[in-house]
């Protein structure tokens, strides 16, 4: 069973590479039962959308 600390690392790495199969499964199991890490995941994905728009006059309001 992954700890939240490990899960957050995997969430982050998952944004940068395809995780090995075993890690992917372990993370999915963890996220299914952990609200904190699920929020963390959504927030890192949001960060990606936000930073992509940063300093882009067409996309920034």
């Amino acid at each position: 069973m992954l700890s939240c600390k490990e899960a957050t690392r995997l969430v982050s790495q998952g944004l940068d590479r395809r995780l090995p199969f075993g890690r992917r499964v372990a993370l999915r199991v963890h996220l299914a039962i952990c609200d904190g890490c699920t929020h963390f995941k959504k927030q890192t994905e949001f960060l990606r959308r936000a930073v992509a728009r940063l300093g882009n006059p067409a996309a920034e309001p």
Partner: protein, 181 residues
């Protein structure tokens, strides 16, 4: 091939224990094993005819471990990977679970949000923000970032992880947490 793959995959936990024992760093160990499994799958032909798969895999892993140790000594451990230690208890669970952000995408329509985001980015240590901006703003992949910053993939993932942890905290404090007040 698939049979070979599953035989190799079955050795993963043994190899992990072996690597963790020597590297003392579960993430470095995980990486060394992953590299070993990839090398093994690519080198199936080399294995043909040898007696013991585990011995052969361990031989490859030893080289990966040596590489990892060399790299670790080159990249003098920065501050320690555990600057976020306080966020987790001794069992690795959140001390304070991240709460949901309400309608974050609405913030993307607000100029003040981007000012807050920029202020948070500026508070990151330089190398961390460089890596993060290369990844998330310029859209480079980790390989390219490694090359540019002359760091290993593992180090790169650590930098990106720190950036995300710090930015999440910062936005939570300065934007999402403050919004409702």
């Amino acid at each position: 091939m698939d049979d070979f793959r599953s035989r190799v995959e079955r050795e993963r936990s043994y190899l992990l224990r072996y690597a963790a024992l020597q590297l003392r760093d579960p993430h470095a160990a995980e990486d060394a094993v992953q590299e070993t499994l990839l090398a093994a799958l690519a080198g199936e032909a080399t294995f043909q005819g040898r007696a013991n798969l585990r011995t052969w895999l361990t031989g490859i892993l030893k080289h990966k471990i040596i590489d990892a140790i060399r790299r670790a000594s080159r990249e003098a451990p920065s501050a320690s990977a555990d600057e976020f230690e306080a966020l987790f208890d001794e069992r690795g669970h959140w001390v304070e679970m991240p709460a949901a952000w309400t309608d974050p995408d609405a913030s993307l329509e607000q100029k003040r949000f981007f000012a807050a985001l920029e202020a948070c980015l500026q508070r990151l240590p330089q190398k961390i923000s460089q890596a993060f901006m290369m990844r998330e703003h310029l859209g480079l992949d980790t390989d390219e970032i490694c090359k540019e910053l002359a760091i290993t993939p593992t180090h790169c993932w650590v930098l990106l992880y720190r950036a995300r942890m710090a930015l999440r905290e910062c936005l939570e404090k300065d934007w999402f947490g403050a919004k409702g007040k």
